[in-house]
Symmetry: C2
Subunit: 267 residues, 2 copies
């Protein structure tokens, strides 16, 4: 696929890198905090520190949105908050349904961050008839039978799956058939969806395993004692060397690729 770097019409070239999109919420959060403290402007350096990234990256990211800063000064906090919000589509209302009101589903329903950014819990759905009517986070749980009606009635396009792994694909299919085109999946399963539907997954187990991998390495290093040049192993991997100093810092702040979260069922 040739990145038809298309003729960028003035500012705002469409085609913001995925990596940048993933960081916009981070910047937005930092900016919101500044805004609440009535800070009028910030430099890329300060904002980057607050968001946990380096300033060059931040400036590059913002450059994809347009030239919203002032040389020699910095960025206007309020203005940036607005621009990023608009870019992320947070200036509109996004009704969301959460399917699977177990421990996790309830936690998500109670999650305050929802409302704060245009997301509105339109409904809580669970397959257990006993749950029907029971209020969670002030919202009455509805039975799965109602799923299609709710999606269509409320015009829901984003669905959150917090069911056991075994039910995830089935729920997903129904959500999609009913019109949902974006899914946040907390069940530890690979969902199959038709083209045009976005899926993001969050899997606690995966995150822990990644941490374990690095943790294991740390232990190994101690035992092997940091030699000047890696002993055994193939060759003095250049990559390895770099990793040494950057990894700790990097992993901690801007976290590497792939992200995931918790789930409800065993892996």
């Amino acid at each position: 696929m040739a990145t038809g770097r298309s003729h960028r019409p003035a500012t705002r070239s469409r085609g913001i890198p995925e990596a940048t999109v993933a960081r916009l919420p981070l910047y937005l959060r930092a900016l919101t905090a500044l805004s609440e403290r009535s800070v009028p402007t910030v430099s890329s350096e300060e904002l980057a520190a607050a968001a946990g990234v380096n300033s060059a990256k931040l400036r590059k990211d913002f450059s994809y949105l347009g030239s919203y800063g002032t040389r020699g000064v910095g960025y206007d906090v309020e203005y940036l908050v607005y621009q990023i919000s608009r870019e992320l589509g947070l200036t509109q209302d996004w009704p969301v349904v959460i399917v699977g009101i177990g421990n996790l589903g309830a936690a998500l329903a109670n999650y305050g961050g929802f409302a704060s950014r245009g997301f509105r819990v339109a409904a809580l759905i669970d397959a257990d008839p006993a749950m029907a009517g029971k209020p969670v986070a002030g919202i009455p749980v509805q039975h799965t039978d109602q799923l299609e009606g709710i999606i269509q009635g409320e015009g829901v396009s984003i669905g959150v799956i917090a069911t056991p792994a075994g039910a995830a694909q089935q729920v997903c299919d129904r959500l999609v058939a009913a019109g949902v085109t974006s899914i946040l999946n907390f069940a530890p399963t690979v969902l199959t969806v038709p083209d045009g539907v976005d899926v993001r997954k969050v899997d606690l187990s995966i995150e822990l395993q990644i941490l374990a991998f690095h943790e294991q390495r740390k232990a190994g290093e101690v035992a092997a004692a940091g030699a000047v040049v890696p002993p055994v192993g193939s060759g003095p991997e250049p990559v390895a060397a770099r990793r040494a100093s950057a990894a700790g810092q990097d992993a901690a702040t801007d976290q590497g690729p792939d992200g995931d979260v918790p789930a409800v069922m065993p892996t």
Copy 2:
């Protein structure tokens, strides 16, 4: 820190790409499922489909671990399960502490996936005195005062933070001071940690915002019908194009850079 090392004989060149490490848990999950069905071998094509990635990527990933396949045949399921488990450090016991037993913390404590892969909930910690002693998921909650003692006593190196955003950094500092070197953060805050400590974050709000961004685009595409705002939707955008066929598959499985998850406090 030095990197090289490890007395790993034969294959196994040190320096597995981070992107590959992030996918190993995915392969492991798929392999475990096959193993339970007593499937003896799998081709890269089949396994890739089960894991939601493409076969070329999978083969490349495995090539970093060594040559564990048989040309013309495929991979031995049991053997691969073992190799990947070892690589990820899952053949050993990893005691984990969860701090902040609110809705989310309780959900995590009940998460079955923990035990299944070498992770053991060594303790549940909460700052609320009223919670002390109360069992959650069969484990009695302990007060924050006990934090240091538990970490050191159990030799915990992985900590999960599920507290409100305001307490996260403080908890993090205590965990690190007590000896924890890997942290999974569910609070919507950027944690600052010393070198050598790994942090992975999981933030529901961020995931939803990313979905909203793409959702907004889809809506725009429909309206613009590949007209005035081409670059994004209309143009054979590399990303867009790929997304069409692979994305559904891709986004679901290998998800882009930076990962996050849910939290307990508003953004």
